[in-house]
């Protein structure tokens, strides 16, 4: 047991400060931050639900069941991601196995790590819901007894379901991983399925609930929806009833605990049998390597760097998900946003708000699509020396990287504009001018992101997924993009009296053009200096 515990501590130390005896300050700070987040979430949730309750939302066992369902869907997603990260794809598997411990001890320690993180994450959003519910509803003593029990049992349930499902998923992943093209197609298929469900959900809400109607009518429909959902998910309804109804409390509690234990043992048996085999096979499988028979092709340095960017980025299926998720999703998200939210804003604030909102969401997504530039230099990693010592000016090299991002973001913006034009009521002129503003702003944002990364690149990484962990540039670039989008929204919103076109767009386009021109000028004047000073 002591070996398992030591293995557990070793893995926990890698991730959080909780067990680090050497730095008690860090431990206290981490705990305070955690408790603080729970407290803030509780206050916010209570305030929001108080408002809903005053206008007619029922606080009954159905609501609790639906809230439990939502938290457990989230817990399941977190558990599934953690299982892949901590179990199958863990880089420390080989290292830990080389230690004087049995595979079973390692397996159990990994399960303990997973469970610990699941409890930490689950408590963060489930505890505020329980407290909020206790404040708003008349709950019995059983509810309070069950809060700590459920905080420990619910993560286990999510973990068990995720563990059972991870085995067939892993088998499929191991097959798909053999081909890069199959990996990309699978990722795109998954995204498409998710989007289809998402769009169906959003469209059905938009058609079934009239957001412009009376709030009371809307709440009746919402109460019905909650009741229906609660009845169809009997497990969560049963849990909610156990918490709220004292009759047969202990029997129900015992049943939940026994069922969880049985499921846990089942998942443990299933996973233990295949875990080491699957993870070992995963490391053995290498994607089928690219076989090229092309001859040599003379290209100018700029074109060669651009081509290299495409090859090195898109031949890694992980990159598609990591960097281009928002680029791919932009047209869909804008479409659903326009369908759902623009219908709410139309009667309340007029057309100017609609255009400003549309511009905001387009610019936010363009900003998120531009984050690939915030790792433009970092992605070179050990090859960065080629950039520094090749006889090509740093400006030319960076311009190629900027153009690479521009091609991707602009393509997404054009597709978004076409979808918007075909599927919504936003006028052609507004649509074109909005896309132009987003394009000009994006160029400035891309250049800023590249310069950020040139100042402080994260070159010392093992695989590309580590770049974002080591470098803060992506987060900073995201924040900059978000701020710029909000500023543009404010400009259009403030300067646009209803149904005017020329005045607000003139200001917006002038503002983004001046901003981007200044950034380009800064780039041209300062990039050599930044490059010269850089130490790597």
């Amino acid at each position: 047991m002591s070996t398992t515990w030591e293995l557990f501590r070793l893995q926990m130390d890698e991730r959080i400060d909780l067990f680090k005896k050497t730095n008690p300050k860090k431990v206290i700070l981490s705990l305070l931050l955690y408790v603080g987040i729970i407290a803030v979430a509780t206050v916010l949730l209570t305030l929001v639900f108080m408002r809903f309750v005053t206008i007619g939302l029922y606080v009954d066992s159905n609501l609790l069941a639906v809230l439990l369902l939502l938290t457990q869907v989230l817990s399941f997603a977190i558990a599934l991601a953690s299982i892949f990260k901590t179990m199958y794809s863990a880089k420390d598997n080989d290292f830990l196995l080389s230690m004087p411990c049995s595979p079973n001890q390692l397996f159990v320690s990994k399960l303990m790590v997973l469970y610990a993180f699941e409890v930490i994450a689950n408590t963060l959003y489930t505890l505020p819901i329980f407290i909020m519910y206790a404040i708003l509803a008349d709950v019995s003593v059983g509810f309070y007894i069950l809060i700590p029990v459920f905080l420990l049992v619910l993560p286990l349930l999510a973990l068990v379901v995720a563990a059972l499902l991870s085995v067939p998923i892993m088998q499929i992943v191991n097959i798909i991983k053999r081909s890069n093209l199959a990996s990309i197609i699978s990722i795109l298929l998954l995204v498409a399925i998710f989007l289809a469900l998402y769009m169906w959900f959003v469209t059905s809400i938009a058609t079934n609930i009239d957001f412009n109607g009376q709030q009371g009518t809307i709440l009746i429909r919402v109460n019905d929806l909650i009741a229906n959902l609660s009845t169809s998910t009997w497990l969560f309804k049963f849990m909610a009833d156990t918490m709220l109804i004292l009759e047969g409390f202990w029997w129900k509690l015992l049943l939940i605990l026994v069922a969880t234990a049985v499921l846990f043992v089942l998942a443990d048996i299933c996973m233990r049998r295949v875990f080491f085999g699957l993870s070992a096979r995963r490391s053995e499988i290498t994607t089928k390597t690219k076989q090229g028979t092309k001859g040599y092709r003379v290209l100018k340095p700029f074109n060669s760097i651009l081509q290299k960017e495409f090859y090195t980025t898109f031949r890694n299926s992980g990159n598609v998900f990591q960097y281009f998720l928002f680029t791919l999703l932009m047209p869909f998200i804008v479409y659903t946003y326009d369908r759902l939210l623009l219908s709410i804003t139309v009667n309340q604030t007029g057309e100017s708000m609609i255009i400003a909102s549309h511009l905001l969401v387009v610019c936010v997504l363009a900003g998120l699509s531009n984050i690939v530039s915030a790792s433009a230099i970092s992605r070179e990693g050990g090859n960065f020396y080629i950039m520094k010592m090749s006889p090509v000016s740093i400006k030319t090299q960076l311009r190629a990287k900027i153009v690479f991002n521009v091609i991707l973001t602009y393509s997404a913006l054009i597709v978004t504009a076409l979808v918007t034009g075909l599927a919504t009521d936003i006028g052609v002129v507004h649509n074109i001018l909005c896309t132009m503003a987003a394009m000009i702003l994006s160029l400035g944002h891309i250049i800023i992101s590249v310069l950020l990364d040139l100042r402080k690149p994260a070159l010392d990484w093992f695989d590309e997924s580590e770049i974002e962990k080591i470098s803060k540039n992506t987060k900073i670039a995201m924040c900059i993009g978000l701020i710029m989008a909000v500023l543009l929204f404010a400009v259009v919103f403030a300067f646009a009296p209803t149904r005017h076109t020329i005045w607000p767009w003139s200001i917006t386009l002038t503002a983004v053009s001046v901003f981007t021109a200044v950034i380009i000028l800064y780039f041209e004047l300062r990039v050599d200096k930044i490059n010269e000073r850089m130490e790597c």
């Binding site: 100018k300 340095p301 290299k308 031949r315 990693g381 090859n383 020396y385 010592m389 090749s390």
Partner: protein, 278 residues
């Protein structure tokens, strides 16, 4: 070919300078070995020469071109092999070499001829159109070497080039270095494998305290009858200067920790002692 004048380099806000006025001049057609303890500043010097690291003061000339004033022209005559064997793993060998050739504006005919020559020598033809991520450690080093030589650099800089190479790959790389120097180009490399440095180099420089304390001809070692390893270890461990160490090595009867002095060198030393007495 390479001239370094009074090079100073300090990292970030560090109070300790890594390089304190380093001076060096390399001739055409020579192989120069660069020695020093771990952390002495060998890689820093190499990165400064290649324009990878900035330096506070001093001048570096590559084939007569000032690296600070004419960086692109100077870099055109330069190739560098890093110690980490970094390559773009998602590219095929051919795409990688082609990309580097594009950066140096090499004509189609030249890149074809040079690549096929080196591919044959390095026995890498079978893997050339495969993605580099499927290459072994030695194969990655070979493709880096082919890419480095594709523009026939006047100065070839290598940082720990033999690190982790199998004997066959190491042999091929050493041969390539010799052949490159024989064409009148200069090869500058750092290594901790002293036997290789001794057999391959014409001259050797030892970096200590941020300056090159000694530059000596490999012939001097051969004349002393000792080995570079013995001389270097004595020099690094002791307080003596290299001249003193070499002097000790040349005195056969003096008590010495060096135990491998050859008979031939003892005879030669005896002769020189007699000559001095006369």
């Amino acid at each position: 070919m390479l001239k370094i004048k009074d090079l100073h380099k300090t990292y970030g806000n560090s109070k300790v300078s890594t390089l304190n006025g380093l001076n060096l001049e390399l001739k055409d057609g020579e192989i120069f070995g660069f020695l020093g303890s771990n952390g002495a500043g060998k890689t820093t010097t190499i990165k400064c020469i290649c324009g990878i690291l900035p330096f506070e003061s001093g001048e570096i000339f590559i084939n007569g071109k000032n690296l600070k004033e004419q960086p692109q022209q100077a870099k055109r005559d330069l190739a560098y092999i890093p110690d980490n064997h970094a390559v773009f793993e998602r590219l095929t060998g051919r795409e990688y070499v082609n990309h580097i050739a594009n950066l140096y504006n090499i004509s189609l005919e030249d890149r074809e001829a040079r690549a096929s020559k080196y591919l044959k020598e390095f026995n890498l033809e079978h893997a050339y159109d495969r993605q580099i991520k499927s290459y072994s450690h030695g194969m990655k080093q070979k493709i880096t070497v082919i890419a480095a030589l594709i523009h026939q650099p006047k100065l070839w800089v290598l940082d720990e080039p033999l690190l982790g190479l199998d004997p066959q790959s190491a042999y091929v790389l050493k041969r390539a270095m010799k052949e490159h120097a024989q064409k009148g180009n200069t090869v500058f490399f750092s290594s901790h494998i002293l036997e290789v440095v001794e057999t391959l180099c014409d001259r050797i420089g030892i970096l200590k305290n941020g300056v090159i304390e000694h530059i000596f001809d490999v012939k001097q070692i051969k004349q002393s009858g000792s080995t570079l390893e013995n001389i270097y270890v004595k020099y690094v461990q002791g307080e003596q200067s290299l001249d003193e160490v070499l002097d000790i090595e040349s005195k056969p009867n003096q008590e010495s920790t060096v135990s491998t002095t050859s008979k031939k060198s003892k005879q030669r030393n005896n002769k020189s002692k007699k000559a001095k007495e006369n």
